[in-house]
Assembly symmetry: C2
Homo-oligomer: 102 residues x 2
Amino acid sequence: MAYASALIALSDPTRRQVFERVIDGPRAVGQIAEGLPVSRPAVSQHLKVLKQAGLVTEQRRGTRRVYAANPQALGELRAWVEAMWRDALAAMMASIDGEEQK
Amino acid sequence: MAYASALIALSDPTRRQVFERVIDGPRAVGQIAEGLPVSRPAVSQHLKVLKQAGLVTEQRRGTRRVYAANPQALGELRAWVEAMWRDALAAMMASIDGEEQK
DNA sequence: TGCTAACGTAAGTCATGGCTTACGCATCGG
DNA sequence: CCGATGCGTAAGCCATGACTTACGTTAGCA
């Protein structure tokens, strides 16, 4: 059920912005927060959620903390959405077939 | 940006349960709510959110309202996650290559 | 050994959202 | 035509969560 925490993490628009910046390449917190409409502590809190969801990894670099995207957690979410999509398609086809028979 | 509302809609566990029941096949509200740990009005509210996100469609059948899954909205979410996943993979590779060169 | 930079965290505020009960409204059957 | 069924919606409650400012902590640097 790792996709659950990923869904929650990515449901917030600001946190999505943070995550997309990390995906662009490994960055320190200050660089991520730069230009965002929220304060740096807010970004730290978002990164904490993303980290607990497994979406990003943290690496200490002196006084800075460099965050990088972790494709694996994204892959699990991808697999879940894919399965749901397939099921929805299959159910739709079955529903149409049932309609034809009347 | 249709994926945004889909992410919000699917981030709630109860709403996910509702959606998964709809994916299983078109059902009326009463059937969906049956066995769930929340009341029927709560299910109605969840269905409203899912409908506004485009994840389900509504069809009136006498006094009942039959809800069915809409694969298209799920497909858009799928495409978005897929793109993010690719980008994350690409950034990871680039990061590793940069590491090798030092 | 201070000073500064780059963080995380604590505490408090405020809006959002999920849930309940109560009610209103349309539809089918007698 | 009237009761019952199957809903959606309104109102209110309460927990959660996103954000702020203030502070503590650690690492580089003169």
